[in-house]
Symmetry: C2
Subunit: 215 residues, 2 copies
């Protein structure tokens, strides 16, 4: 018995399209042609349309009436505003995590940080995977499903602005330090400090993104 393995065509199309948009396979600024992509995926326009609207609701596409769907390219203003939202959400998550975390939550956070350190000392770059894992672990510890969901969506939009983020070694090092400091605050149950550190962390990431954005 494989219960949810029978995803609808629209659902499959959402996954494929999301991947193509996030990886840049469909470049920023370009349009998504309904008939073309539908043929390409071997489905009808109906389910594809549904998928397009879904991604638009996630902020990964912008719809223009009678024109079609475009993958948005962000201005520096957009980046700033988006990080204000992300800061609001993740600072709250950090506070909640500090006051609700179980010992198991703490262990997981520490594990992720330790693996990042090992990676870094081995001279390898700080993989985005581990950064995501850290923030995900923090969200799990916060136990606030609606906040977690919104953070997921915002993180996706941040990825859309992929601008060679994880390439700057000093930035990587600073991010890892931030993560470590966050874990300490969470371990202490110090919600105020967790929020403060998270705010500084995201402020740094935002600044880094703004420098690497061509405008």
């Amino acid at each position: 018995m494989t219960p949810p393995l029978h995803l609808s065509l629209a659902g499959q199309a959402v996954d494929v399209l999301r991947e193509q948009v996030l990886t840049g396979e469909i470049p920023a600024g370009s349009r998504v042609n309904e008939v073309e992509v539908a043929q390409q995926l071997g489905i009808s326009r109906g389910p594809l349309r549904e998928a397009i609207r879904h991604l638009a609701s996630e902020g990964l596409l912008t719809l223009v009436p009678h024109r079609g769907a475009f993958v948005p390219d962000a201005t520096p203003e957009d980046v700033r505003a988006l990080f204000e939202l992300r800061t609001a959400l993740e600072c709250a998550a950090a506070e909640l995590a500090a006051s609700r975390r179980t010992d198991a939550d703490l262990v997981r956070l520490q594990d992720v940080c330790a693996e990042s350190r090992r990676n870094y000392r081995a001279g390898q770059p700080f993989p985005y995977r581990l950064d995501l894992a850290f923030h995900q672990s923090l969200l799990d510890a916060a136990r606030s499903p609606y906040i977690a969901e919104q953070v997921r969506l915002v993180q996706q939009r941040v990825v859309l602005l992929r601008s060679a983020l994880a390439d700057d070694p000093p930035h990587q090092r600073a991010s890892m330090d931030d993560h470590d400091e966050l874990v300490l605050a969470i371990a202490d149950g110090d919600a105020a400090k967790a929020s403060t550190v998270m705010r500084r962390h995201l402020s740094r990431v935002c600044a880094q993104m703004l420098t690497s954005v061509t405008h």
Copy 2:
């Protein structure tokens, strides 16, 4: 010339359906039949489907594969989690408003509060309209479009849990006091205090909703 007055059928359907869901014309727990509602609106299933999916993305409907769309009825847990999200967003908005507000923003906030007082003194109930106007004015002063958008969506979901909220006079009085105190903090540019007051305010509102929810 009326540029955007030619809304698509799907767009119109979204407006009509949203109204029906929020006012309870379509009661919580009930299902939305695609063919029935489509005929009722005089449109085809395509646009209606699109409208349903859109409202689902706003959290006003929940989709069950092969079963249809249902208007969700929330558990106390849901209310708590939703208010954690709302608190994260609106506290951040209050902080931003305190640091960015113009004199015009301040005047508008004060006007809304004054009108609420006048209403209250006249023995009339505190209309939800004025409460919305206050929070909207605060969001305008915060000048953070993404946060504002998310707050709008969350407020909608809160309305969905309409449970005779504005009927308790002591609660109304407390809410107005909170609003006044918020305006003072924002006038002073005291971001920390604005956040604190907003948190207390929403905590009170959440508690009020929980007491009036049958469970």
